[in-house]
Amino acid sequence: MLGPLESFREGFGAALADAGEAFSDLVVVDADMSNSTRTVDFARRFPERFIQVGISEQDAVSTAAGLAAAGKIPVFASFAMFLLRAWEQVRNTVARDRLNVKLVGTHSGFSDHLDGSSHQCLEDLALMRVLPNFTVVAPADVTSTRELLFQAIELRGPVYMRIGRDNAPRVYGRGAGLALGRAEVLRDGSDVTIAACGVAVWLALAAAEELSRRGVEARVLDVHTLKPMDEGAVLKAASETSGIVTVEEHSVLGGLGGAIAEVLAERMPTRVIRIGVRDAFGRTSRDYRRLLEIYGLTPESVVRAAEAVAHAPD
């Protein structure tokens, strides 16, 4: 059901190395994670533009800020969870000065399943979305990671990109034609909308197929850019379908579900059901999919929520 699996970090590492070719000002800062984040591909091709600061995320973020202030385009990639250790540095320098720093949180959600709750990250979207000046992106697969990474580098200003470790089900073919800030309609439908980001997009698509078999046509939105939110696409979906189910491998507080609920509550009160982690931490599991089941991130739970929305009396 997952379809062909690719690896987020392999895709990111390869794309970043190619970006190094395209952007001569691109530099990469590492806090001893380059083997895990795969920025090692870039390091091998451009050793003079690869800056190792050791296991010190706060130093890494502020160093990146200095590099950006001096005209470089620094990328700092680390486990999403440990990058957040430097949230205050991100907030006070990168965000406040609107510096051209690109932060990439890898191993997000449950993707680092074996390392357990200390390494899994279910809070990053909420914490980065609240920062002024930031663009926040959660690509669904390897193809969109590459396309959105290039666009993030071209964008002048701070960006947070969230990817998983491996387990990236393919959603897009080659050349998806994505645009930062524009939600992608992956499937049209008028009964209910399923809005998802990151790896949860495949869950939304799988649920939509099952719903279709049951006679419910779901519109599927890939809201890869959480900030700035494509409010037009959200409002259109709210007005043309009976309600919205949001799906994310993240806390339901403050992430995609929160963002969409904020838009709708003010501008078009609409039934919303948020699928995600309900105010909890993760667990160690030798099987990634087992964790998704435990926390209710399955096509079945999305189907149930979508049916509840689609069949709700007006």
Binding site: Q58, T63, A65, E88, T93
Partner: protein, 316 residues
């Protein structure tokens, strides 16, 4: 009275007097035959402090026996004790000191001492800074000192200073990027050295001859990130980075050695692979020495400036 002795006494005095009181004393020392009201009106206009606040503080100064005036025509004047206090407060005789007092009273009186001890450091740094060089004020709460120097350099106006601390002012409580000579906003401690490293690495990649001066507080050295960055700078041989520590011996809760000891400070920096220069005298020559040693050794250099009269182990 030497520099360090004056530093101790000034610190003691500033625990007793607030910034507005110090300002009134400094201005009274320079005025001849002025009535109190006319003096306070001038101060109010120049520094944007409400007249009523100044009147209250003048009254306190009179009660303390530092200022003498009455409601009649007799001019306001300092008592002999008042003159001694002024001598200590403005020991360096720096004309910028008055601006530091007034800015600190507008931006946060708690940072007055730190701004005063930082003033001579920043003056020295700016005196050797070349156009291509960058200064990062990691101890952003010394903004009053920085803004006074920006005034002297013609980067901001007296009018800017009078409006400091207002929402529409570019002189915020802590320096913000966009001001001349301010490349990156600061205010949260412990981050400036990392930022300076980033600027220095970028310059190295681009082949630029650029020195990066970063001014740190001694209390700030409690932040772990400073030592992350100290290790990064030496690991990368960033000899263009020159750190200056304002060793005034004071942090928010009291003496630095009581709150959390910083000594042996020279040995700490040396252990991280830095060239270390210490001074309790003129800062400029110490900075030049640091630059020379950094260039010849290929290592980053730090100047520890004893500004506050702490015992300063190893300050020889």
């Amino acid at each position: 009275m030497d520099w360090r002795e004056a530093g101790v006494l000034r610190r003691v005095l500033l625990r007793a007097l607030n910034g507005n009181q110090a300002l009134i004393l400094l201005r009274a020392s320079k005025s001849l035959n002025r009535s109190l009201t006319s003096l306070l009106r001038d101060i109010s206009a120049d520094h944007g402090v409400p007249l009523s606040t100044l009147k209250l503080n003048a009254k306190i100064l009179r009660e303390l026996g530092l200022l003498d005036y009455d409601r009649g025509q007799r001019p306001v004047r300092l008592t002999s004790a008042g003159r001694k206090v002024v001598e200590i407060l403005s020991h360096e005789g720096d004309p910028l000191t008055g601006h530091v007092y007034s800015l600190a009273s507008r931006l946060g009186p708690g940072h007055l001492h730190s701004s005063l001890t930082c003033l001579q450091i920043l003056k020295a740094v700016f005196s050797i800074k070349r156009d291509s060089d960058v200064v990062v004020l990691s101890k952003g709460h010394a903004a009053p000192a920085l803004y006074s120097i920006l005034l002297e350099r013609g980067c901001v106006s007296e009018e800017d200073l009078r409006g400091a601390g207002e929402p529409d002012s570019r002189l915020q409580a802590h320096p913000e990027a966009g001001l001349p000579e301010v490349l990156v906003s600061t205010g949260s401690l412990g981050q400036g050295l990392s930022i300076a490293n980033g600027v220095a690495i970028a310059a190295r990649i681009d082949g630029l001859d650029r020195r990066v001066f970063v001014v740190l507080g001694d209390g700030e050295l409690d932040e772990g990130q400073v030592w992350e960055a100290a290790a990064t700078a030496s690991a990368h041989g960033l000899s263009s980075v020159v750190a200056v520590v304002d060793r005034n011996g004071t942090q928010l809760s009291g003496s630095t050695e009581e709150v959390k000891p910083k000594e042996p400070l020279r040995a700490r920096w040396a252990a991280f692979g830095w060239e270390v220069v210490e001074t309790s005298g003129p800062v400029r020559s110490a900075l030049e020495e640091a630059v020379r040693r950094a260039e010849s050794s290929g290592r980053p250099a730090v100047v520890i400036v004893h500004t506050g009269g702490e015992s300063g182990a190893g300050a020889s």
